[in-house]
Symmetry: C2
Subunit: 240 residues, 2 copies
């Protein structure tokens, strides 16, 4: 399984992905699920993936290779919408190519988040379904999730809004990951994260957070202790 979150906020975009890949519970590996395509000063595109590793890797590889070619590719399309159309088309292409009698009964599907900004265009984040159709997040619901989304959803539902500042949104996202990782073995560290500031058109350094990252450890502990205190401070129930 996988857990990815993308946020489209007034001040910018936040992307966080876990990196655990598993085939069964005894074949667990680390693979990045966050990919950057950028032309400094002109565009930043981020892809996040969930689902079949062979499919998602092939899609990303083909998208990358084609950036050298003459056709439309992620570094020359003029809108984020067109970039998303390309990702979706490549996804359908790979699934059609790899589907055969040999893969009967194997789930080849994967899904994507495509986000970023192209010069002269607004920022955005799109969710590409395994079927290749897609939708965009809007200020009403300013985040998208892929994969094992339920454990970490309440904290986002409760605390994330379009005007939430980027650093607070990032903290909220990291807590959402902590809740998911504690409850589900198939989502695991390290985390990859990227925070994009609106209209900067620069690819910020992608950060990798390992299990022993001091900041992550601190907010995990502080959150956990704070929740315990908060729970203890609730008035005693009049029932029972």
């Amino acid at each position: 399984m996988t857990y990815c979150v993308a946020m489209h906020l007034a001040d910018g975009l936040v992307f966080i992905s876990d990196s655990r890949t598993n085939a069964g519970i005894d074949q667990i590996s680390t693979f990045a699920k966050l990919f950057v395509f950028s032309v400094p000063g002109e565009r930043l595109l981020v892809l996040q993936t969930a689902g079949n590793l062979a499919t998602s890797q092939s899609v990303v590889n083909l998208l990358r290779q084609r950036c050298q070619g003459d056709g439309p590719h992620l570094l020359n399309v003029t809108t984020l919408y067109d970039a998303t159309v390309l990702v979706a088309a490549t996804l359908r292409e790979v699934v059609a190519r790899d589907r055969s009698k040999l893969t009967a009964g194997i789930d080849l599907s994967c899904s994507f988040i495509v986000g970023g900004q192209v010069a002269g265009e607004p920022m955005g984040i799109y969710n590409v379904y395994a079927q290749g159709n897609f939708f965009q997040a809007t200020p009403d619901t300013p985040f998208l999730q892929l994969g094992e989304s339920k454990y970490g959803r309440p904290i986002l539902d409760r605390n994330l809004a379009y005007h939430t500042p980027l650093d607070q949104a990032l903290r909220c996202g990291l807590i959402s990951f902590d809740s998911t990782i504690r409850s589900n073995l198939s989502v695991g560290m390290p985390l990859d994260l990227l925070v994009y500031r609106k209209d900067s058109l620069e690819a910020p350094a992608r950060q990798r957070i390992n299990q022993d990252d001091a900041y992550y450890q601190q907010i995990r502990r502080q959150w956990s202790d704070g929740l315990k205190k908060l729970l203890a401070e609730l008035p005693p129930p009049p029932y029972g």
Copy 2:
């Protein structure tokens, strides 16, 4: 969908169930999913259900009717284990009875939590799978969930242990329900709850918590405000 939680703690048992039943999203009703079988001073048994409403109602009705008969029933078996065997057998019986060409393609399955105490025996809670096999919660993992369990699981994983006092466990459970109800339309108020004190062998009054219950509203608000504050107090991230 449904959400039910049962807890087996050092001091007693806690049961909480929602009451929303839906067939699609436009056919939503309120049905209790928590049932009590008791002989004051001798036994208290609690059943919680999730799954097909026709199946679960039939199981509970048959179990109730048979309490008048001569065979083994929920009011005369001598252990909680045997009570659970009866529930499981009745579940298989109803599914076998109702399965026909008419119900082909319809999911008739449901699952149960069976908990309580019979005089001279320890307390316990069992999870009965839709297939009729079952397992018991132990002090290592002192709670069971049915239905839409993921949204409300992190708060239980973080804060519930075998020696958690009953009133604190109840607060933790109610917050788990609040998180689930906020994130998932198919789980809804009112909630039914029952707190059983170890060795009391009495059926406490079952409580029903409605949307406008003053205590529930207060802890919802206090929890929500507390989380916001907690999040704001986390140190700013060194990334991004």
